[in-house]
Amino acid sequence: MAKKLHSFEAETVSERGGRGFWSLAWLRFRDDRVGVGSLAFVAVFFVIVFLSALGVVASHWNEEVGIHDAPPDLWGWLTPAAPPEAMGNAAQRAAQTMENTQHREALRPSTVIDPLAETLMQLQRERTDGALSESRVVDPLAETLRILGADGATPSAVKEKSAEKRTSLPLGGDRWGRDVLTKTIKGSQISIAVGLSAALLATLLGTLLGALAGYYGGRTDDVLNWAYSVFNAIPYLLLILAVAAVLQQRGVMTVILILGLTGWTGVFRLIRAEYIKHRGREYVQAAHAFGVPDRRILFYHILPNVSHVALVKVSLLAVGFIKAEVILSFLGFGVAVDEVSWGSMLNDAYQELILGRWWELAAAGGAMALFVTAFSLLTDAMRDALDPKIREAS
């Protein structure tokens, strides 16, 4: 229990007097290594998003620069597993395997990058051995793939085109041969913009209404609480669909509005509770005693003291909305077809995953995980730095 004491030196008084609130907050933030690290990550993302929005990078994300489903090479780190000819496109290969089981052996090399290949082959072997060899129940995608293959991507066409196109890309290519890297960058731009704007909208709305409800109480509170209850009583997806139906168009703006107009309720509750707490505080009473107008007390006196709650909520909402956008895209209410977001990429990727095309999922998922984690940690650190109650002594 008893431990050695380092030194019994007198307490050093911290000399931080006279500094402004923000500079003090920055001093505290600087001490937080995790916070600074996550700030760096988020900053990198923002720079990329900014450049992408200006059209400096990733403006040609929609061009088919590589062959279909070009494998990733990570700038040469990773040797592409198979020659492009053998790769072919998904439809062709699937069709081939369906028709001709003898070709299985020839296709073997490509299976190195296909984690499901073994299983697929197993399935096929069972099928050929068994009586149900012609049944298509086993592979629900086979029919679709065959149609796709028949549609235009005939083996010869593929061969011709792929001669001019790159056979491998840094992060691979998608079904149409678009570069997954530029797609991810463009997707980051849309997703982060959607997530942050929607979170800001929702927080703004929730803070404003929560402040009014919590500060005035009584009738105002009753009415706003009623609105809150209505919004909360309707299942979330149903509400989103309803708003989407009213707005009648697809696109980034619509997604922001949908998420913002439905997501304010959580912020409302939190901010309302904070205002109820603060309106009885003595510094607010002192302001009343001087006859400070209500508007000024609401937004000049109390708001800075509860802003850390809103700040944390922005980060949680941004993260949630980035994920919600995936669901919206999945349901067909997301970004338009000529736009790309992490959500639409994930939506594309899940169909290809079963065929072993993991790179689009990895790119979109990785970017999303990285940003979401860094952003959460950053807002956490910001909250700690901005909270006046956490003193310098810590």
């Binding site: 229990m1 911290s14 007097g17 609130f21 009473q285 005693a289 006859g291 003291n305 006046p388 109650k389």
Partner: protein
């Protein structure tokens, strides 16, 4: 009778000793903060030892170190330290052994009974838990013992109290339940950390009496921790005075009160206002600590009438201030008649439940005088203050300020009066906006009421007020958290005074402050009154402070004014039973011959 192991042969009188205890807290990027330094004392069997000191003196940390409750990841105990209980050094024991000691051999009660009881379990369950864990009692046996215990600590209807939740009990009852829990396994040592600080003065007296009887009955030793020297004087056999983590003085209670050797102890004794006599000005700790020469101590004891440093302690006038109270011809500033304030709790959609906070209050206040409002928690004294300022809307009655009826004015028409009456709150940590610099806080009322011509003049004015309350103008750009409690209260005072009010309502302005700081703020209030001629409405639960500062006193109970009168006659000859009870409950420490 139910001591588990027969006591060690009586040869060793010291049940418990703390030797060279040092505790340091680790800090990031800074050397560790030493909270307790080389503290040594002993506690004998059946003895009460008191640890006395102001906030930050290390008294609670000492108690936690004895109990082994300090968080290990921040607190380090020095290697040389020893905490010996019956010949065993507890610091060398395993955590498990110490855990078994806690509760059975030593128990602790805390300052805030509300937060030290778990709100989601019944009182009976929490006490029974101790019995089941330490004594392995069955549920029914534990319950029977609980009833005994609750009866012993004086809870009315112990069987019913058993199934109550802490929130259904009053503060005093909660503290009794806490004591019952601590007593459950009849510990040899009871540590009471500020057990009555959160309680009203009459309840405090009951709890202290209870602790005394229990100690005698169970032959326990008690370590009583408090900031209140007078209170400690009533319970302790020996007193240890601490400051900044070190022991300043230790000795028998009689000796500490009659002939304190240490300057700090002397200061503590002297700077606390008393109910039985009123100096014209309170000495402060600085007066004692900054003097280089030691004031010679007289055999009869320390009483401040000219020992050495006559600069700081002015001689006590035998009959204080003949001009106080009656016979004042100053014009009336405030006339309140039949003021009523009720709160309403909605029971359901149609019915509201009325909770009267102030019932029919009538009184007057003259210019430049001070009216004290005394009462226990829930007596309505704070509500009265807030209602006068229209921070609460009055339910009925009239308030006349400087001859004008202000009770029915509209919000706009009341605006000029917001300049003329101001308020200072109890908690200096909550009354300043933490996100505003001191300058912002002070400038706002000046600019709002257009007191200064422009911002520059306003800034000059705030500098002036900061100087008047004894602060440097450097404070202007700082944030409240950079100041101590006393300094914050000065800032709050300066803010209220910026609009040059004629009436200042002081709602417990010194209750949250240390004794030495209290004296400074009280002196400051007195000086400012003389300088500015402002009237005070001084709300307090502390009768001694009210005695020191006020001309007239009003005693409130449950929203009623039970007695109102001139300060000297009310204290010397209280008419009302309740007033007498209140006065009798004020701790007086030891009676010292010279009538200090």
């Amino acid at each position: 009778m139910n001591a588990p192991n027969t006591p060690v042969p009586t040869a060793s009188p010291a049940l418990f000793s703390v030797e060279r205890l040092s505790v340091a807290f680790r800090r990031r990027r800074q050397p560790p903060f030493v909270a307790v330094r080389e503290v040594t004392f002993t506690i004998n069997e059946n003895e009460t030892v008191a640890l006395v000191g102001e906030s930050g003196s290390g008294k609670s940390v000492t108690a936690l170190a004895i109990m082994g409750l300090l968080p290990k990841y921040v607190a380090e105990v020095a290697e040389v330290s020893r905490v010996v209980y019956r010949g065993r050094d507890l610091l060398q024991c395993s955590d498990e052994a110490r855990r078994r000691l806690r509760g059975t051999e030593m128990a602790m009660i805390f300052q805030e009974p509300m937060t030290s009881l778990n709100p989601v379990f019944t009182v009976g369950y929490q006490i029974a838990e101790v019995l089941r864990l330490h004594k392995g009692m069955s549920a029914s046996a534990a319950q029977a013992r609980c009833v005994e215990l609750l009866d012993e600590v004086g809870l009315p209807e112990p069987r019913r109290a058993l199934v109550r939740y802490p929130s259904q009990l009053s503060g005093g009852q909660q503290q009794r339940a806490m004591i019952a829990m601590a007593l459950a396994c009849t510990p040899r040592l009871l540590i009471a950390d500020e057990p009555t600080t959160a309680l009203d003065v009459t309840v405090q007296k009951q709890i202290v009496e209870l602790l005394k009887t229990l100690k005698a009955r169970h032959r326990m030793s008690v370590l009583f921790i408090s900031h209140d020297l007078a209170l400690v004087g009533e319970v302790a056999d020996r007193i240890v005075v601490m400051r900044h983590g070190e022991i300043r003085e230790a000795g028998d209670a009689e000796q500490i009160f009659s002939s304190p050797r240490d300057r700090y102890t002397q200061a503590l004794l002297q700077c606390r206002p008393r109910t039985d006599d009123v100096p014209s000005r309170l000495p402060t700790i600085e007066n004692f600590m900054t003097e280089t020469e030691c004031p010679p101590l007289h055999g009869e004891g320390w009483d401040g009438d000219g020992d050495g440093d006559g600069v700081s302690i002015q001689p006590l006038s035998p009959n204080p201030a003949p001009t106080r109270g009656e016979g004042s011809k100053a014009p009336l500033l405030l006339e309140v008649s039949g003021l009523k304030k009720s709160f309403y709790k909605r029971e359901n959609l149609w019915r509201r439940h009325e909770i009267p906070a102030v019932k029919n209050a009538s009184f007057t206040l003259r210019r430049g005088e001070t009216l004290g409002i005394v009462g226990e928690s829930g007596s309505g004294k704070t509500t009265l203050g807030l209602t006068l300022l229209r921070l609460h809307q009055a339910t009925g009655g009239t308030v006349r300020f400087d001859g004008n009826d202000i009770s029915a004015l509209s919000k706009e028409a009341f605006m000029p009066y917001r300049r003329r009456m101001q308020i200072v709150f109890q908690n200096p940590y909550a009354s300043l906006n933490p996100r505003f610099t001191v300058g912002q806080s002070l400038l706002e009322p000046i600019l709002l009421h257009r007191i200064a011509a422009d911002r520059k003049a306003a800034t000059e004015l705030t500098f002036d007020w900061l100087r008047r309350v004894g602060l440097d103008h450097e404070a202007f750009d700082r944030y409240p958290h950079e100041f101590s409690g006393g300094q914050r209260q000065r800032i709050a005072l300066a803010r209220a005074l910026t609009v040059e009010p004629e009436l200042l309502i002081c709602d417990e302005p010194v209750s949250a402050l240390d004794v030495s700081v209290q004296a400074q703020i009280l002196n400051l209030l007195k000086d400012l009154q003389q300088e500015l001629g402002v009237s005070y409405l001084f709300i307090s639960h502390d009768l001694a402070v009210v005695r020191y500062l006020c001309d007239t006193v009003m005693v409130m109970r449950d929203g009623d004014i039970v007695e109102i009168g001139d300060v000297d006659s009310l204290y010397q000859n209280p008419q009302n039973v309740y007033t007498r009870q209140l006065l009798a409950a004020v701790p007086r420490g030891r009676d010292q011959g010279a009538g200090c």
